[in-house]
């Protein structure tokens, strides 16, 4: 039987995926919101502390 040399060639398509991008946007937004909320509550606590 004739010996056939077959190079290993991968074929792949463009894989940019909106799902993971949207998940990161959601994650970063919620992280920023959490930080804002924490900063605000710390400020409030400092104001209350200052009044005493």
């Amino acid at each position: 039987m004739k010996k056939i040399k077959t190079p290993n060639i991968d074929v792949a398509e463009n894989r940019a995926d909106r799902k993971r991008f949207l998940a990161y946007v959601k994650g970063i937004n919620s992280m920023t919101e959490n930080t804002k909320a924490k900063t605000e509550s710390r400020r409030k606590a400092a104001r209350i502390g200052g009044k005493k």
Binding site: I4, P7, D10, V11, R15, R20, I28, N29, T32
Partner: protein, 373 residues
Amino acid sequence: MMNFEEFTKNVADNIKDYLPEKYEGAEVVLQDVTKNNDTVLTGILIRTDESNIAPNIYLESFFEQFENGKSFEDIMADIADNRVKNEIEQNFDVSMITDLEKVKDKVICKLINAEMNTSYLADKPHTMVEDLAVTYAIDLGENVGGRMTSPITNSLMKKYDITTEQLHEIAMNNLANSQIEFRTMRDVLVEMLFPDGISPDDPRSFMLPPEEESPSMFVLTNGTKLNGATAILDSKTMENIAERLGGDFIVLPSSIHETIVLPLTPDMDRNALETMVQDVNAGQVAPQERLSDHVYMYDSKEKELVLADKMEERVKAREASKGEKKQDERSEARSSRRSKSMKERISEKKAEAAKNEQSREIVPAKKRETTLE
């Protein structure tokens, strides 16, 4: 119901019945191929004497359709159709892969996770960048199914007779001359979700990051958006980003195809970011396309990409050494003061006072008036 092994055997035994006559003498082989992250896929190779190259048709997705109720006959017809459509009539010129001179300009790199690819890396030259491995391939251009690449293996390296360092240098030069894209996440998403554009008051814009003067998320990839995470290996690109973002920045390994860049702000908590990367990987990224569960940072001072926890250590060490330096300066000044005699210090003070007296501006009394409103 057949299991996967029975399914693949049945496909191999009967596929010729569904193919045109010219495939009658073809050799049919089932072969397991290790893909990224050591994912093993089973492919069917149907080789004729006409060409030395044949497509490997992976059977996992066909089996999934079979499990979902599609008939075996319909699936066989689809596999046969796929094989005929991807027929390559001519012989492939193997020197396009084996001859270094022909290959040099086509050497590209791929960035993958080292720990998740121990089997894949076993027969391939690679260079480590933290816990990631840079592997190398030959870009063979586009065909109907997508972009064709052939991995560079240890046996090819023997033919090339070069070291991994030399191969890395070739790949980095080609990367520096290739197209790299650094765009805001908002622009990338608008292009993907609303190719015709979106007005600012469109209710669907809630899913986009806000339009800001200083955007907080960027996507870094290559021109083809395929294996584009390698863009973080291009030193000039990373230096330019550091300049644009004002110093060190965060790199999230969103997939082997791209990374997400975040400017360094006080909001950024490494542990929270790492948890987010792990969650997105587990829920939204195909196992074959996962790059890493860790967060990275670009150290603009050292011009180097490092794991974020290592960067935290570096920052602490730098701050500590700054503190020590200041302390040293203070104690040096103190000791130099102590070493002078009282007489010397008094005469120095006198000289200083005389100098101040000479340089003092005489301000008229009127000018010294303060206006009270």
